[in-house]
């Protein structure tokens, strides 16, 4: 499952279990390529939650989570960050990072 969130929705949602929070920018080419990769990963594992957040429109949240660039993928379990991938990554590397928290 891939869902776009803003700060209010992120703060208000229940954060149980494993999930990915990905910060992106609409101007960013690697972000766009990553979105294609994440869609392909989502098809393989539709139960894994992937939340995408616009870096430019959620300044306070990105500062709060210590995100300084895009794309940045935060792997989380029960709301706690367990791993962080910065920049575009190989699809198998992203899949492995997801499997590590499942």
């Amino acid at each position: 499952m891939i869902q776009e969130l803003n700060t209010e929705a992120y703060d208000g949602m229940e954060k149980s279990g494993p999930m990915m929070v990905e910060f992106y920018s609409k101007k960013c080419g690697p972000c766009k390529m990553l979105s294609f990769v994440l869609k392909a990963i989502d098809k393989l594992n539709p139960d894994f939650k992937i939340f995408t957040i616009d870096f430019d429109e959620n300044q306070e949240l990105k500062e709060r989570l210590g995100v300084t660039g895009f794309p940045t993928m935060l792997l989380m379990n029960d709301g706690e960050e367990t791993n962080r991938l910065k920049g575009l990554q190989q699809k198998p590397a992203i899949i492995k990072a997801i499997e590590d928290i499942m």
Binding site: S25, G29, K32, V37, Q90, K91
Partner: protein, 308 residues
Amino acid sequence: MKTYDIVIVGAGPAGLTAAIYAIRANMSVLVLDRLAPGGQMINTNEIENYTGVGKINGAELSMQMFEHTQELGVEFDYKTIVKIEDNGQTKTLHCEEDDTPIITRTVILATGTTPRTLNAPGEETYTGTGISWCAICDGAQYRDKNVLVIGGGNSAVEESIYLAGITKSLTIVTMFDLTADPKACDQLRAMPDVTVYPYQEILEFTGGEKLEGVRFKSTKEDAVERHVRCDGVFEYIGLQPNTDIFGHLNILDKMGFIAVDDEKKTVVDGIYSAGDVTSKKLRQIVTACSDGAIAANAAAKYVDSLKA
């Protein structure tokens, strides 16, 4: 173990076009890339000069090209090649990700280029934490801050125009004068809080835990030395070919690019090359695609001759 007819290293426009022509020539084809399809196109926000598509985002064009290869049944894998062995009528490729060698009758090297670095003191220290090679990727964190750009060509000037719109101040330091298209240079010079220092040599990136500035010196007679404080640096000083692992094949020219003939053949039978990594005058998506088609055509003919 399977022997492919054509293995293509690099999934940028050259590699992807080579794949299309190769599979349509009834070759068994494998395309490898260490990251994702697209090559340099991924980092290009707006492409306006690829025939027939008008204005398109680089990543979107990358995916369109990639999906074209997938519709034709091209095999693709994420692999970082670390060694190529020439065994005459076959080549063996070794990758970083696992121990399984890849055997093929021909290879098309389409590995592209990587932005150049200065190798100046402090550069390695602050790489990724103050020094970047991609304004679109990393520029946002310098909103209302002081930024320095090194370089004066088209990429440097275009990215400087983008940065000047979001930063507090922009300093451009370049080896010669600005050499980009005159219209872009004029646009940049007219923007507020932009200072250009031409004919400079970078001496050092300074700072403690964080980058604090750049020291540089004029290459003119006055040899004036300056230290400009900045929060971030972007380098746009040209591209270097991704050919580190091909030296032993003796296929490189003096600048490290792969030397090819009109059919994109190297001096080694069965090894071809296409795209930005080759010695050529114009490095554009359209010329990369053309190279890929020519290389695949030549490789397919060679494979047919081996099988005859």
